[in-house]
């Protein structure tokens, strides 16, 4: 062990190997979550007790290799080099052995002190084979521990292995033989590096540097060139590379191929066939769920099920929160007579009402994400990406874009953040910009109220059409962004497709919480501030403080009146509708509450619908246009903040502007089109 106070353990693995579960098993689930410096890739750190000392466990991003091509890989690689963790636990999947071992080999070449965790051995047995872990350990020269993360099997052994690895560092940088000619070149370069740039060899194995220079790794090249005598090393590497490429073709591909050949040798030696199942359950399920014709209808009904589940199950919780905050807490504050009137109003009508409205959505959002996490853990969500890919590719978008959109049905904030998993930068930016067009849970009450008020029997159809409209517009805008803003063809996508599995409670709970938390924290900060601003605009006017019952004379009323008599005039909405839109900027669920306040009928959805119908505020046509406008017009403040976090201020403003314009155009088309067809 080194003389440092803290012991560092890093977790690495390819996607879908159960890394998060292993992390939880090792650390007891307690984690500090932040971002890697300068990028929006999540960093998770937990604590593990070893021999009475505390070790810091760092969860590195899910990666396939250690090139300098993607942010995730650079983060993992730099962490291993710069922070020099005492142990690197490489989590391998027994049912995805080849790609797991490729990563393990890359780690060994980098000189990491590797412990290999062979996870999911139960699934391998189900598939009809066994992995000889002792032999595997012998071939790689590292300890190999079998685990089943879902049950906790082998975790204690893994902890022991980490403890042992702290004392004896097994390093095996010569794991792959690249063939005589390339090996000779590597050797020459190694000597040159040791001689001319000894600064580097204290951190990096010379052999790794030599291989990376031959591969043409941009990050290593720039590091070497910076050194006083680095130029000589680089030019020598270049000439060696040219010379070799005349014999073996592209050196980078050649090196990858050699690594895979080594992986295959190892796999062949350690995989023992037990019995081959005739047809796997996954194949049987997939023959229906990914069927060319039946697949999409199935996906739609599963989505519908997800919505029903979220709304039905959450109803009692919603009512409870509503009574507690909007009823009890609100009345309690109103009852404090010692405070000045404006302060009572700020607390009751601004803070409590604003946050209360958002919190009543917490159960719906949480249950939606719970249902989503179950389908995700089972392995179904990835299949949806397959189903829609052909359609999406017509719009120059990868099928993977559907995942942020579906998450966006729950809440747009985690939807926007989910775009991180899209590798291609242009694809990712496009996805983040169109993600707010997915109709989130907060918009539904608006549709329901307006629909009930003016659309009668066709309300149900109108509500469904909003979801379809959202997706259609997302596709069209995605196409437009790829055409004019992020030019070039979509590079497509590759995704691991795990076999169908029983959902794991821990995993589902963790994913549900991670997404719900994003909704909750945004509600607690951004929406809170927004609610206060809205309150201020609605209780003050040119004459000063007015109190809560004079909205028409307040700044908000004045702006609403101005909007409805100028820009929004062609759409036929009155000043109340315009004020509600203004307030809906904070969070779209506020729209219903605003109508309630403006009509003086409270926030109950039925009474609000009744009041809207009585005042003849909308015709069926303008009501429908209003629904569409609410769907599109701006992502709420929290979503804008999320876009800013992912893409920067410039793109947040772009999202704001394009959505307002798009909403206006769509609403105008609905109204004008309806008039042309003779609909009132």
């Amino acid at each position: 062990m080194t003389g440092r106070e803290s012991i560092k353990v890093a977790l690495v693995g390819i996607p879908n190997v159960g890394k998060s579960l292993i992390f939880n098993r090792l650390t007891g689930g307690k984690a500090w979550v932040g971002n890697w410096p300068g990028v929006t890739v999540e960093k998770k750190i937990g604590k593990l007790r070893i021999n009475g000392a505390e070790a810091e466990v760092v969860d590195l991003p899910g990666i396939y290799s250690l090139t300098a091509y993607s942010i995730d890989e650079l983060i993992a690689r730099n962490f291993i080099i710069e922070e020099n963790p005492d142990v690197v636990v490489c989590i391998a999947s027994a049912v995805n052995l080849e790609r797991s071992l490729y990563l393990a080999i890359s780690l060994l070449e980098l000189g990491a002190n590797v412990v290999l965790d062979l996870n999911m051995i139960d699934l391998a047995e189900k598939e009809g084979y066994k992995v000889d872990s002792a032999r595997l350990g012998g071939l790689l020269g590292v300890p190999v521990i079998e685990t089943i993360a879902t049950t906790g099997y082998g975790i204690d052994k893994l902890k022991n292995a980490i403890r042992k690895a702290l004392q004896e560092k097994g390093r095996n940088v010569r794991i792959v033989n690249y063939g005589r000619e390339v090996e000779e070149a590597i050797e020459k370069l190694e000597k040159l590096i040791e001689e001319l740039t000894p600064e580097l060899t204290s951190k990096y194995p010379a052999r790794w540097l030599a291989i990376k220079l031959l591969e043409g790794d941009s990050d290593v090249l720039s590091k070497v060139v910076k050194l006083p005598r680095g130029e000589a090393v680089v030019s020598h590497a270049r000439s060696l590379k040219e010379c070799l490429e005349r014999k073996v073709g592209d050196l980078e591909s050649y090196i990858i191929k050699r690594r895979y050949e080594r992986v295959l040798e190892i796999t062949k030696a350690v995989v023992r066939k037990v019995v081959a199942p005739a047809i796997s359950l996954t194949d049987a399920i997939d023959s229906v769920l990914t069927h060319k014709v039946l697949g999409i209808p199935f996906a739609l009904s599963i989505l519908y099920l997800l919505f029903r589940f979220a709304f039905e199950v959450s109803t009692p919780f919603v009512d409870l929160i509503d009574v507690a905050i909007n009823g009890y807490l609100h009345d309690l504050v109103i009852g404090i007579t010692t405070l000045p009137e404006w302060l009572t109003s700020l607390l009751a009508d601004g803070v409590i009402a604003g946050v209360g409205t958002v919190l009543t959505f917490l159960p719906v959002v949480a249950f939606f994400f719970l249902g989503f996490a179950v389908f995700e853990d089972v392995g179904y969500i990835a299949r949806i990406a397959f189903l829609v890919d052909k359609l999406f590719s017509k719009f120059n978008l990868p099928g993977k874009t559907i995942i942020p959109l579906i998450i966006g049905f729950g809440c747009n904030v985690p939807g926007v953040m989910a775009t991180r998993t899209i590798e291609d930068e242009n694809d990712r930016k496009t996805a983040a910009l169109i993600a707010p067009l997915a109709s989130c849970n907060a918009r539904l009450p608006v549709y329901l109220v307006i629909g009930a008020a003016v659309l009668g029997y066709s309300a149900g159809f109108a509500v469904l059409s909003m979801y379809a409209l959202g997706i259609l517009l997302a596709l069209l805008m995605g196409f437009a962004f790829r055409r004019f803003l992020f030019r070039g063809l979509s590079s497509g996508f590759v995704m691991e497709l795990p076999p169908y599995m029983k959902p794991n409670i821990g995993n589902v709970a963790m994913k549900t919480w991670e997404r719900t938390k994003k909704f909750l924290f945004k509600a607690g900060t951004v929406i809170f501030l927004g609610a206060v601003v809205v309150w201020f605009l609605s209780v003050t006017g040119p004459t000063g403080y007015l109190g809560p019952d004079h909205i028409e004379e307040s700044f908000a009323g004045i702006i609403g009146n101005w909007l409805s008599s100028t820009i929004l005039k062609p759409l036929g909405w009155d000043w109340r509708a315009s004020v509600a839109l203004l307030f809906g900027f904070i969070a779209k669920e506020v729209v219903v509450g605003t109508f309630g306040v403006l009509y003086g009928v409270g926030e109950e959805e039925e009474t609000v619908a009744h009041a809207i119908a009585e005042h003849h505020s909308f015709t069926p046509l303008t009501g429908y246009a209003y629904m569409a406008f609410v769907l599109i017009y701006i992502p709420c403040v929290a979503t804008l903040a999320a876009i800013r976090g992912e893409l920067g201020l410039k793109y947040a403003i772009l999202a704001l502007v394009y959505e307002i314009v798009l909403a206006y155009v769509v609403a105008l088309i609905i109204v004008a089109g309806g008039h042309a067809l003779g609909i009132a």
């Binding site: 995805n96 080849e98 598939e127 191929k257 995989v271 081959a276 052909k390 497509g492 996508f493």
Partner: protein, 97 residues
């Protein structure tokens, strides 16, 4: 020779070439999709996205000896390749479905 996007459901194909930029080529190589390797087409929307398994041992001899082994191709795990990517991978059919 044809793009993988056009391969038939259940066919066994051999990768002949990858017509893509350096970045994507490398990514696919690292996933085990390498010239000469065999892929089992688990699901295809011909033409469209495909679900494939990279067959562990692609030597013709091994395929003949252990048909069940390469049919399942389990050690590789399954990959979903979007239409855009599947169009760039050129394959030839080795075994009809």
């Amino acid at each position: 020779m044809m793009p993988l996007a056009y391969a038939r459901n259940g066919a066994l194909v051999r990768v002949v070439g990858i017509k893509a930029g350096k970045g994507l080529c490398r990514r696919l190589h690292e996933l085990g999709i390498i010239e000469g390797k065999m892929l089992r087409v688990v699901k295809s929307q011909g033409p469209g996205p495909v679900i494939i398994e990279v067959v562990g041992d692609s030597s013709p001899n091994a395929c003949r000896k252990h048909p069940s082994f390469f049919n399942r191709g389990v050690v590789g795990g399954r990959l979903l390749l979007g239409f855009g990517v599947a169009k760039k991978i050129m394959v030839e059919e080795v075994l009809a479905p």
